[in-house]
């Protein structure tokens, strides 16, 4: 259901409460007049109030009556004012209640009508007839509207109280009923019991009392009167009967005569007087006439009702036809619009999706129209022409179904295409990601190179151009000659033929490049190691700071004598400090390693620049550089600088996966086989176990043999093995067999008639 913000002024019709408010104002005015009237009475009573002392009983009674009247007037005044307050409150409450109920109803109607309109519009746009839900929504909205109309129309009779205000005002204006009468009327209008008010008034009391007495007297008089009347009637009846009997020859003519004869017949039959018979006949005729009248009225009303029904039916039919006509016209337009839209999209080169959606829309409209036409034909009288039309429509419906299937298939293909497109896009994206990664790497390298080149430039020794050229020329010449020599001498390090200058330069350049690469890699790796150590140090620092915080808190608890974990935290702090020291040491050693590697690589660089090693070092240097020595060094250095349980899968220094490592004095290295024997024990645990079991103190002694525990165990085993065991078995009451096992040998002895005592005790050997 559509939800919308509804404002009060939209819901409440401004004039609906005017009648109620006007009536309330009128009542208020009337009550105010009543109050004024009471005041006037009181002032009059005050004027005539006797001030002198009574001289006799009648004066005393009169004065007492005046006193009573003053009390009554005061009570009337209070009650009237209370009535006025209650009336105002009642009206206010009723208005508010009506307002809320009315506003609620109005809001419901607005929402229902909006929802119904939305649903109907959606159905029309979709090219469908109104669905059941839409019809229900319309019906609901109309029902609410009718209710609101009824309320608006019957505003004067909305509540009994509101309507009757007019009566009360009229009564007041005409002065009917006097004060108590007016109040009674008003009270009745307001639903307030005013009997108490009336009984308070002495005048009313007296009036009631006197009237009762008078009415009783009147009643008696009436009874006396009636009896005389009855007597007169009897005489009259007798006279009339005589008249009928004696004047039987006289025939009255016309309708009167018929009636008279009929009445006479009734009189004779019933024995009643003519007057009574007249009454009976009249009564009967009256009843008959009333019956006829009521029958006529009923028939007329039935006729009216049926005419009304026929009108409504005709109206509904007309509405349905108009709706169908409207829909058909609307449908045709909609179809034309849809076709135009498709053509336009194709011309503009719209996407497949858009064209597909437009085609789907067109197809839906056509199907809806077909269905509506079928329904229309079904409502009409079946004849040959209609049958033919229906068949055409059915064929068309089938065609539309096929089109729908085709469209659905296209939808599937379209989706597959979209998926493929998305897959291609994904591949492209992935490639882009890889490319961007490579680009980033290249950029990073370039930045590093730029930084390095700046550093190199700073470290360059300033040499004059001529000197440098001279040195370079000489060095290259020297290299060339050495190589030629080496080649001639069959040194593998040289080449078989003399190398040209260009070749030497190229070789040098290549070596320098490799060395540069190695240096770059080395720097990167040491940087990573440095970063890692720094991160570990930061972490440790954070932990330390946290421990310090907690220490402070626990110290406070300790001071207050409360339960705390101060000692535990102290231990934790000690561990953290130890870890910090280790990390610092590690960072220092990695730095030393880095410097060492740098020096080595610089040496290589210088050596390469100088044209290679004179004593074959150049070849070694070349091999080192070519085999990415720096990387291996760095890995080897930072991998287990502080010891490790496993050096990993190995490097490529030699055929056995050898790798370089930096070792320090008095450190232990195990082979892989020895390490395998230790198993998953960490270095720490291994050392602790050795320390715990004092294994290190047994240096030089055969620990297996001198193992006290093992010896003891052996002894125990031997004792258990050689333990003497005996058992007794009774074969019968007189025969017992004793088995003694010792050292694996069992001796069995049979006793005949052994003594009872011995039976109870274990046999001793």
């Amino acid at each position: 259901m559509a939800q919308e913000q509804i404002k009060g002024e939209q819901i409440i019709q401004p004039d609906w409460a005017a009648n109620a408010i006007k009536s309330a104002n009128d009542l208020d005015e009337a009550l105010q007049k009543l109050i004024q009237h009471t005041g006037v009475l009181a002032s009059d009573a005050k004027k005539v109030f006797p001030s002198a002392d009574p001289k006799n009983l009648s004066e005393l009674n009169a004065q007492n009556a005046a006193i009573e009247k003053s009390i009554d007037l005061q009570k009337q005044d209070i009650q009237t004012k209370i009535l006025a307050q209650q009336a105002n409150k009642r009206v206010r409450d009723e208005v508010l209640a009506s307002l809320s109920a009315y506003s609620k109803l109005s809001r419901e109607y607005r929402l229902a009508s909006q929802a119904a309109k939305d649903m109907a519009a959606a159905d029309i746009l979709a090219g469908k007839a109104f669905s059941q839900t839409t019809k229900e929504a319309i019906f609901k909205a109309n029902g609410l509207n009718e209710q609101l109309k009824k309320i608006d129309a019957s505003m004067g009779n909305y509540t009994r109280n509101v309507g009757n205000y007019h009566g009360a005002v009229k009564a007041l204006a005409s002065g009917v009923g006097g004060l108590s009468g007016i109040m009674a009327m008003i009270g009745e209008a307001l639903g307030i019991n005013t009997e108490a008010l009336q009984t308070l008034t002495n005048t009313s009391k007296e009036l009631i009392k006197t009237s009762r007495e008078l009415s009783h007297a009147k009643h008696l008089e009436a009874i006396a009167g009636e009896e005389s009347t009855v007597a007169t009637e009897v005489n009259t009846a007798a006279t009339e009967t005589n008249v009928v009997a004696t004047e039987g020859a006289t025939e009255a003519t016309g309708l009167y005569g018929i009636a008279l004869r009929g009445v006479a017949a009734i009189s004779q039959a019933t024995g009643l007087s003519m007057a009574a018979s007249w009454a009976l006949a009249t009564g009967g005729i009256t009843i008959l006439i009333a019956g006829i009248a009521s029958l006529v009225y009923y028939l007329n009303s039935a006729k009216d009702a049926s005419e009304e029904l026929a009108k409504q039916e005709a109206y509904r039919k007309d509405q349905a036809e108009r709706e169908a006509e409207f829909l058909s016209v609307y449908d045709k337009e909609a179809i034309d619009n849809a076709e135009t839209k498709i053509a336009l999209l194709k011309k503009q080169g719209a996407s497949i999706k858009e064209i597909h959606d437009a085609e789907q829309e067109l197809l839906s409209l056509k199907i809806a129209q077909n269905k509506a036409e079928q329904e229309k034909l079904n409502t009409q009288t079946p004849d040959a022409e209609n049958e033919k039309k229906l068949n055409t429509l059915l064929v068309e419906a089938n065609k539309l179904k096929n089109e729908q299937l085709l469209l659905d298939t296209k939808e599937v293909d379209k989706k597959k295409e979209l998926n493929k497109v998305s897959e291609d896009e994904l591949d492209i994206l992935l490639k882009f990601v890889h490319t961007s990664e490579e680009l980033q790497k290249i950029q990073k390298d370039a930045q590093h190179d730029a930084a390095q080149s700046r550093t190199d430039k700073e470290n360059l020794i300033v040499v004059t151009d001529n000197e440098a050229k001279a040195v370079k020329h000489l060095t290259s010449e020297y290299d060339r000659l050495n190589k030629t020599k080496a080649g001639l001498a069959g040194d593998s390090s040289g080449s078989p033929s003399a190398l040209t200058q260009k070749e030497i330069d190229l070789q040098k350049k290549a070596d320098a490049e490799k060395l540069e690469n190695a240096k770059k890699l080395n720097d990167a790796i040491f940087k990573l190691a440095e970063d890692r150590v720094k991160a570990e140090q930061n972490l440790n620092k954070e932990q330390l700071s946290k421990i310090d915080e907690q220490l402070n808190q626990q110290f406070e608890l300790l001071k207050n004598g409360q339960k705390n974990t101060y000692d535990f935290l102290l231990k934790e702090k000690a561990k953290a400090l130890e870890e910090q020291a280790k990390l610092e040491k590690k960072a220092r050693k990695e730095k030393e390693a880095e410097q060492l590697v740098n020096i080595f690589l610089e040496f290589l660089k210088a050596d390469i620049a100088a044209g290679g090693g004179k004593n074959g070092f150049g070849a070694a240097a070349k091999a080192l550089a070519q085999t990415a020595l720096a990387k291996t060094l760095a890995e080897g250095l930072s991998g287990f600088y502080e010891g490790t349980e496993d050096t990993g899968s190995g490097g490529n220094i030699d055929s056995k996966g050898g790798m370089l490592a930096v070792l320090h004095p008095h450190e232990r290295v195990l082979t892989a086989e020895q390490n395998a024997m230790i198993g998953s024990l960490s270095n720490e645990e291994l050392v602790n176990s050795v320390f715990k079991y004092h294994i290190a103190e047994k240096k030089g002694i055969d620990m297996i043999k001198d193992n006290v525990i093992e010896e003891k165990l052996d002894q125990l085993i031997s004792v258990v093995k050689n333990k003497k065991e005996s058992s007794v078995e009774w074969k019968s009451l007189w025969i017992a067999t004793q088995k003694v096992t010792e050292g694996g040998i069992t001796n069995e002895t049979t006793f005949i008639n052994p003594p009872i005592i011995k039976r109870q005790q274990p046999f001793k050997n």
């Binding site: 109050i35 009471t38 005041g39 006037v40 009475l41 009181a42 002032s43 009573a45 005050k46 109030f49 006797p50 001030s51 002392d53 009574p54 001289k55 006799n56 009983l57 009648s58 005393l60 004065q63 005046a66 006193i67 003053s70 009390i71 007037l73 005061q74 005044d77 007297a217 008089e221």
Partner: protein, 178 residues
């Protein structure tokens, strides 16, 4: 019908009044007391038989006797007047009534305060008056002061109250009758 009734009542009145005490001069104080105690006006009808309880009169007789009683009471008031205490209370009630009328006429609720004040004074007056002395106390007082025994059935109302008046006067003067 009304005329007949009226005639009948007049006729009945004439006949009844002949049998009744018609003034305070002849009404014994005993019956005066009984009427006040029992509210039964039948005691106004003379009777040779002295009875402490009488049947209440019929409606017509009641109507007649009520008029007679009113006349007798007026005679009493004319002769002896209302008591000062009674008059004070009555005046206070009238004052209250006037305040009420003023409150209604002027629509001024503040007058309720005066009404409340009057009510308090009235309650105090009624309380101060007490329940009053009963007939026997009064009779004993009169007998003690006047030194004369009083026969209820033979002493009329006027006689009794004149003696009472005298006794009160004597007491107020501080002398006793010799």
């Amino acid at each position: 019908m009304n005329k007949l009734l009226h005639f009948f009542i007049q006729y009945r009145e004439k006949k009844l009044l002949k049998k009744c005490y018609t003034s305070i001069e002849d009404l014994p104080v005993f019956y005066w007391r009984k009427i006040h105690e029992s509210k039964n006006l039948s005691f106004l009808i003379r009777s040779d038989i002295i009875s402490l309880n009488k049947k209440h009169p019929s409606k017509i007789n009641l109507f007649i006797l009520a008029k007679l009683w009113e006349r007798i009471y007026d005679q009493y008031i004319e002769a002896f007047g209302f008591s000062e205490e009674f008059l004070e209370i009555h005046r206070k009630k009238k004052e209250m009534a006037i305040w009420r009328l003023r409150m209604v006429a002027e629509n001024n609720k503040s007058h309720q305060n005066f009404i409340n004040a009057c009510q308090i004074e009235l309650d105090a007056m009624i309380k101060a008056q007490g329940s009053g002395s009963n007939y026997f106390e009064t009779k004993a007082f009169v007998e003690s002061v006047m030194r004369v025994p009083i026969d209820d059935l033979k002493t009329s109302v006027s006689e009794f109250y004149y003696k009472l008046k005298l006794a009160e006067k004597k007491i107020s003067n501080g002398t006793r009758a010799d």
